[in-house]
């Protein structure tokens, strides 16, 4: 069964304390892996798409990487405004339009 698992469920960081969020997946023939940011009471906001193992993408303090089994979202020197829930989703090959979501990592960054 296709599955996406995110860890940890919650992460508390001091401002400036770098860390990584994990997204492991089991899907045959990955078409794409997506990272979203979601603020409380709002819809998810797109961050990155990764398509193949070895690919990396960066945006400000965030860097996403992809292997054949997992993806990492690295947060370098986080600020309080980075506090949010980060969602990972994969696009399966048998239905190109459906996404399978993980349950997210809730990140809190304290000053």
């Amino acid at each position: 069964e296709d599955q996406v698992t995110q860890s940890p469920e919650a992460l508390r960081l001091q401002e400036g304390e770098s860390s990584s969020l994990n997204c492991s997946y089991t899907v045959s023939g990955l078409r794409g892996l997506f990272w979203y940011r979601q603020d409380p009471g709002k819809g998810p906001e797109f961050l990155f798409t990764l398509y193949s193992a070895g690919e990396e993408k960066e945006k400000e303090r965030l860097k996403a990487t992809l292997t054949k089994k997992e993806s990492f979202l690295h947060i370098t020197a986080p600020k309080p405004e980075d506090s949010a829930t980060y969602l990972c989703a994969v696009q399966a090959p048998y239905n190109t339009d459906k996404l399978i979501f993980g349950t997210g990592t809730r990140l809190q960054v304290f000053p």
Binding site: F34, G41, K42, P44, F46, K98, L99, F101, T103
Partner: protein
């Protein structure tokens, strides 16, 4: 910028009421989706539509129906609301034929009393 709007941010209804949630996108996307999001369960797909008047069941369609009469509008209908349908409802749209991200609306927080 792609814009996906939902008719209400917050909605309170009573058990047994018929509830309509509306979603409109302005980028001529073929595909539209309805999800519900619950703590610890993540986003779960209710229904999706890849064209006008076309619809397909997602993972949890029971208790819901949908309508897509125009390309830009996708409606989610709760025929007889129940308390276990209290949730955050998210609409998304996506262009056909690609590896693109889905664009989400702001969500509707529905409470069924």
């Amino acid at each position: 910028d792609v814009k996906v709007t939902q008719s209400s941010r917050y909605l309170v209804k009573r058990t047994g009421e018929k509830v309509f949630l509306e979603c409109v996108q302005d980028m001529d996307h073929e595909n539209m989706f309805w999800y519900r999001q619950d703590p610890g369960l993540g986003l779960r797909l209710i229904y999706f539509s890849y064209d006008v008047k076309m619809k397909e069941k997602g993972d949890i369609p029971e208790g819901y129906s949908v309508s897509r009469e125009k390309k830009e509008r996708f409606s989610l209908i709760l025929e007889s609301a129940s308390t276990n349908q209290t949730s955050m409802y998210l609409c998304a749209s996506y262009p056909a034929g690609g590896y693109n991200e889905q664009f989400f609306g702001p969500g509707t927080r529905l409470t069924v009393l």
